[in-house]
Symmetry: C2
Subunit: 120 residues, 2 copies
DNA sequence: AAAACATATGAACAAACAAACATATGAACT
DNA sequence: AGTTCATATGTTTGTTTGTTCATATGTTTT
């Protein structure tokens, strides 16, 4: 409707097997969680081994409070799980998908280090 | 240093083959781009076919200006490429990685639709 | 060269967000 | 019970980010 063209063909093609809008929204929300340096560092650390909160804080060099807040975000999104042992709480990645996503991201970034030319 | 523990073992383990901090930062920045509904919709649409700006705007039901702004973000991050044909400019995904990331996201979201119980 | 069209860009505003600080919870030990 | 330790939570603040509106650029057509 914006421009005078008829985009019905494209419309049709794209909406063929729509993973309907809600799902794309969920996907964006998922990646949003990965889209923060602090959280990414936490996830990467956890991909190596289970860790307590204060260990994470030390490893990534952030305050305990900040780490706790981010762990909550990660937990709400089911990216990490935890278990208590006395006073300390150990966090771990919740499933292998999470590790896959981290790996793929690293892969992409490493490959993208070469080329940087575009058209137009 | 925050808590009284000695986390040197964890530290060592994690920093074994560090994809050093900068890279994790880049990964986060990459996923940040995928972490927006509008951009995700654009990318998904482009995964089906090359599209002009106004076609995208219509398909995802957003203003041309908003789409243009987001296309710029996508282009700056090398996720899309474009070509001009007369007045109109056609955008496409720039490489297969992009499609892989979208697919993996959709996969994760679809699987995660079941379980939602955790410990603690 | 002017008008029409497709896209890009700049500025402004609001909403979302992460970090810091202070404080609260909850477990273990004396 | 009180203290200490590990973690969580509430609040505030500064920054980032997405959208909108208005306008600019660049292309084609007349």
């Amino acid at each position: 409707m914006s421009c005078g063209h008829d985009h019905s063909k494209e419309f049709e093609l794209i909406n063929k097997d729509i993973p309907d809008d809600d799902i794309l929204c969920d996907v964006a929300d998922l990646y949003k969680v990965f889209g923060d340096t602090t959280r990414m560092k936490i996830l990467y650390a956890l991909s190596k081994t289970e860790l307590s909160v204060c260990a994470i804080a030390e490893v990534i060099n952030m305050q305990q409070s900040a780490v706790s807040h981010q762990l909550k975000v990660l937990k709400n999104n089911n990216l990490v799980a935890n278990r208590r042992e006395g006073k300390t709480i150990y966090y771990r990645l919740s499933d292998s998908h999470v590790y896959q996503i981290i790996s793929q991201g690293i892969e992409h970034v490493l490959e993208g280090e070469h080329d940087h030319e575009e058209d137009i």
